[in-house]
Symmetry: C2
Subunit: 395 residues, 2 copies
């Protein structure tokens, strides 16, 4: 299709240092610890875990997460679900709206192949989905999305029961979300994700945002119950809020994504006491290709890392790096020593520089492959090269 | 490799309106006019045109440009050159530095397959390139990059002659850059691109930046000449500065990239009298998937368009759109009516919205395919679906 795979021609067993730059590199030890920590948290709190695969877009990582106890994964787009299903992921929730009739026909087809769920927030979406499922003779779990503070998708909590009723009216049974499919459309509960809460820096701010979201969930639940329906599950939460979502008592399932890799943006959040801590596991390996007297230029720019949450930072085994990464455009990054940096802090021509992305999800989406390293970045070896199966799956 | 091609399953001959969203859509009529306008400018000014293929990363578009008179194309990365060469592009200049020995071996191999050029700005880079060429028995054109004001890659103009001398000392002949290869490394001239000048809004500011760059070029040329060498060609320039570069008399070749598509950032530049004007030819097709009382949510976010030069704008056939695109994260965009917008300005569920990207190059790099439309966005039909051959080619 395209030649992106020429880039990441890393050899399994070779030194991490020998990975051709720029490359998306995963510290596989750190990633596995992150996966286990979140799984342990969910187990200990008796809450289901459905990690968001929009972060990694990789069937292999989805399988590590389900092997650790996750019930399945979330995605944001139908084509992501199709790509992961084709690579063997059997339980996927598209936690987003689809209203296009041609896409809903694909949803209905996919629902005949794997355990599939979809979010809805409109009568039009529900009616078109029902028609597609009827035509295909397949069944799906449906979550009604409510807006719990972000102001993006989702209906007002008080409007949830009207949509839930429409879902139920199309369904042949209101089965348990984790029960066996019984045909048609099943009302599985509420999608209640507060994306705006995830990067509020202060722990108390995030807790307050979750408190507001939970009030919305309770209002929606009350409306559904008083209309004579059952609300089997509330799903939501992210890497910045999961500890508060779990403590609320209303969420039955958590959807964190970034915890598997982490990034500068999540790393800057104030830690929450007693909550699990996640390690930086995602890096962009870059190389110095030009060297001035007071700056060095690396071969990684905006085409190698997303900058919607700021520029990447230079990783250092000592913790804080003596180097600032400054904007060098799409193809380059410019490194300068920070005030007070030791002489010799600036790397030389050909040197490797490890970058920590500002935002993991859209950074991963730039790369066709990720290179897994075992034993640390500097001394480690390449364990595997994995395809980013759903890279570029936007629709 | 990955399943990105599931996204752009547009059918040739179908209505543009039926292209599955989100999709990268090219107004093919506007693109062809842009290609011809820049080619005509170069012809009329007696200057060579080598468009930058980092913008489109597509062999098919490179071939349209060379058919219109371009001598070849530029790229920024070796893997881009490999991808375009594999797709039939026969004359490529990698206008960037490579110092990695393994990559330089690939450069030397590629130089045996196509007419290839490379920029250098270090003795290390030159010496390693010479060793690689010797091992492969191939020849290449080498441009010494000088920093003409951007402060990124390139040596000071006064240092150019030292590097030129090193190139010549490795070469078997100092052939003409457009002559037949004669073996070894040939000093082809100077790479003098002022990336920082391209988006200075005022025409006079850009002209002043080019004047400064030209002074640097003249200083470098003087050093080379007085060292007894010839400087066959000066190459550089971009969509924001080409008219001034051409007028300077020192540039023999122009490297504009974005003119083929244009974007909000270039569109905001003050026009230069008598210079050719380029049309917006690149769009992201999006669809409304959620609709609130006062906002609509489309299915295109930072994974569908780059935001390093700002968020996209909503295209309108009437010129200025009554809608603002606001940040909805990686997967969504949020549309709101501007103050004073007519009632009904906000689109409905399922409606198509055409977005103009802030920056064309990194937006194209997010998509595996581009859909060419003939006859306009609204009434047009799909003419072709082309692969973005070098998407993700970062190294």
């Amino acid at each position: 299709m395209n030649a992106g795979n020429l880039v990441n021609n890393a050899q399994v067993g070779s030194a991490a240092e020998a990975i051709p730059a720029p490359a998306l590199v995963i510290d596989a030890d750190a990633m596995r610890r992150n996966i286990e920590r979140m799984a342990a948290f969910a187990r200990e709190h008796g809450i289901a875990l459905r990690p968001h695969a929009k972060t990694h877009k990789s069937a292999a990582i989805a399988k590590l997460q389900t092997a650790a106890g996750a019930v399945g994964v979330c995605v944001q787009k139908l084509s992501e679900a199709e790509a992961l299903a084709a690579a063997g992921v059997a339980n996927i929730y598209i936690s987003n709206e689809i209203v296009d009739a041609a896409k809903l026909a694909r949803v209905a087809t996919l629902a005949g192949c794997i355990r599939l769920a979809l979010a809805v927030d409109s009568m039009l979406g529900i009616d078109r989905l029902a028609a597609a499922l009827k035509a295909a003779g397949t069944s799906i779990d449906v979550f009604v999305e409510i807006d719990v503070g972000q102001g993006r998708c989702g209906v007002a909590p008080t409007a949830a029961s009207r949509l839930a009723h429409q879902v139920v009216s199309h369904g042949t049974a209101q089965g348990d979300v984790y029960g066996a499919p019984s045909g048609g459309m099943r009302f599985a509960g509420l999608q209640a994700y507060q994306g705006g809460a995830q990067h509020l820096r202060g722990a108390a701010e995030r807790e307050a945002a979750v408190r507001h979201a939970v009030a919305g969930v309770r209002a929606a639940q009350a409306g559904i119950t008083s209309a004579g329906m059952r609300c089997p599950l509330v799903t939501g939460g992210g890497t910045g809020s999961f500890m508060f979502d779990a403590a609320s008592g209303v969420y039955g399932e958590l959807q964190p994504g970034s915890y598997v890799f982490m990034d500068c943006d999540y790393g800057d959040n104030e830690a929450v006491p007693h909550a699990p801590v996640f390690e930086q596991a995602l890096f962009v390996k870059a190389q110095v290709i030009s060297r001035g007297y007071s700056h060095a230029v690396v071969d990684a720019g905006h085409k190698a890392h997303a900058i919607d949450s700021g520029l990447p930072r230079v990783w250092s085994p000592a913790g804080s790096s003596p180097l600032d990464f400054t904007n060098g455009g799409d193809e380059h990054g410019i490194l300068r020593p920070r005030p007070g940096a030791a002489a010799g802090a600036l790397p030389q021509l050909g040197d490797t520089v490890w970058l920590v992305p500002g935002h993991c999800d859209p950074t991963v989406n730039l790369h066709d492959n990720c290179v897994l390293v075992r034993g640390g970045l500097q001394q480690g070896v390449v364990e595997a090269v994995w395809t980013v199966d759903a890279r570029g799956c936007l629709g």
